[in-house]
């Protein structure tokens, strides 16, 4: 009979031989604490590795660089810059709500003294705004039941169930699960399924109402009637494309695409700095800089 420990040892050794050890070898690590590597070589036919089957696991960052996922000026595919091609299909209620939002970014930006962005009170962004706010390094873990996303900003996490459970039905007070009404959530209720071995589709409903959350940093609205469809396509070992479509009949006359963000795989050992929204730090910042910088009048 084989000794289990020996089998495990040999197995790990063989597995180690098969690892792409050169993939992350260029990443220096002073003291062993790896800093993010934003200067990766482009993926070409010469260094392209095949995508693993049915896996999103990894540490991912925007392929164009650390600033490519911030979406400060509005969702990636529709920046709020006043151009006709970026106008959204608001319903009358959606447009009225947008006009009530006083954002610090975008074509209708106001000074800090006038803004009403819930983010500035450190409110949770919720889904889908989490997808449109400072996407930098996102960690994804998965097991046979779920995919878990760890967002960088404010150290938030989210579960996407893959065990076959059904998406809840949206009802007036929240969602309905097996005849019971359940509460709305900032991250909503998400279920995912593999369309093929390299394409993962996620549906999310049951998110927070429009007086609690925004869609993006320019004040575009999102309601609790929203249905968010995300697609993650693993193009190759090092490339993941994250797309999103919003359907929210309360605020938008038709579904529309918000982003198609290309991500690059990072070294799984990368140490990710904290990026909390701390009310006390926010208050200190406002006292030292924000209030005076955003106020009116000469010194």
């Amino acid at each position: 009979m084989l000794n289990p420990i020996s089998v495990l040892t040999v197995g790990l050794f063989v597995a180690a031989l098969g690892l792409p050890v050169d993939t992350f070898a260029q990443n220096s690590s002073p003291g062993g604490w790896l800093t993010p590597d934003w200067d990766k070589r482009p993926i070409t036919d010469a260094n392209r590795k095949p995508a693993p089957r049915r896996s999103l696991a990894g540490t991912w960052g925007p392929a164009e660089g650390p600033g490519a996922g911030t979406q400060a000026g509005g969702v990636q595919l529709k920046p709020n810059n006043g151009r006709p091609e970026n106008q959204l299909p608001y319903t009358p209620a959606g447009l009225e709500l947008y006009r009530s939002h006083k954002a610090l970014e975008g074509i209708d930006a106001v000074l800090p003294a006038q803004d009403n962005d819930p983010r500035n009170r450190c409110e949770p962004l919720g889904v889908p705004r989490s997808n449109h706010y400072n996407i930098r390094l996102t960690q994804i873990f998965q097991d046979e039941y779920k995919v878990v996303m760890l967002y960088h900003y404010d150290n938030r996490w989210r579960v996407i169930w893959t065990d076959g459970r059904e998406l809840p039905k949206v009802v007036e007070a929240g969602v309905e699960i097996a005849g019971e009404v359940r509460e709305r959530r900032f991250s909503g209720y998400s279920v995912g399924r593999w369309i093929d071995d390299y394409t993962f589709e996620v549906q999310t409903v049951g998110t927070m109402p429009e007086d609690r959350v925004w869609l993006d940093s320019t004040g575009r609205p999102i309601s609790d009637q929203a249905r968010v469809t995300e697609t993650f396509r693993r193009v190759d070992n090092d490339t993941l494309v994250w797309s999103e479509t919003i359907s929210d009949p309360k605020l938008y006359a038709r579904p529309w695409d918000t982003m198609k963000l290309q991500l690059r795989l990072h070294d799984p050992r990368t140490d990710i700095m904290e990026y909390y929204c701390s009310p006390s730090e926010q208050e200190n910042y406002n006292k030292l800089f924000g209030n005076a910088a955003g106020g009116k009048g000469a010194p």
Binding site: T35, P36, W38, P62, A63, E64, G65, P66, G67, A68, T70, A72, G73, A103, L104, E105, A109, V110, L111, P112, D115, N120, N134, R136, H152, S217, R233, V235, T239, V241, K260, Q262, I272, M273, E274, Y275, Y276, C277, S278, E281, Q282, N284, Y285, L288, F289, G290, A292, A293, G294, G295, K296, G297, A298, P299
Partner: protein, 137 residues
């Protein structure tokens, strides 16, 4: 005595201002395109969310010291640019170029910093993307 405060007003497009700034105050508070170069003495460097803050004393035209506050983005955002918790120490002589606020107060956001050791760091914000429009697979 040569003024230690050099103000350079540049009405230009395409300066060193990154196109993907993100801020807790937005961009509306800043006088976009204007630049002020400050030579001064560091009082404090706060390396904290949501923005890092650099306080420095700068001698004005009349010789009086003016305390400027220059901000950078959050630590994790400016780390890739080279800004560290100990990049500035009290008493350091530094040169900092800022985009000032519109309301005339001695405040701005950091576009460039020359540290006490002569090292130059870029805008204290997200580095520009490698490409403006990488092809989407």
């Amino acid at each position: 005595m040569r003024s230690r405060l050099v103000i350079v007003l540049v009405i230009a497009v395409g300066l060193l201002i990154p196109s993907r700034l993100v801020a807790h105050h937005g961009s509306a508070a800043f006088d976009t395109g204007k630049r002020v170069t400050l030579k001064g003495t560091v009082k404090e460097w706060v390396y904290s969310n949501p923005h890092c803050l650099l306080s420095l004393d700068v001698a004005g035209e009349d010789g009086k010291l003016v305390q400027w506050i220059a901000e950078g983005q959050a630590p994790n955002v400016i780390f890739p640019v080279g800004y560290r918790k100990d990049s500035f120490k009290a008493g350091d002589q530094v040169t900092v170029t800022v985009e000032p606020v519109k309301n005339g107060r001695p405040m701005g956001r950091i576009l460039q910093a020359v540290l006490a050791d002569g090292k130059t760091l870029g805008a204290a914000s997200s580095p520009p993307s490698a490409t403006s429009a990488a092809p989407q697979p």
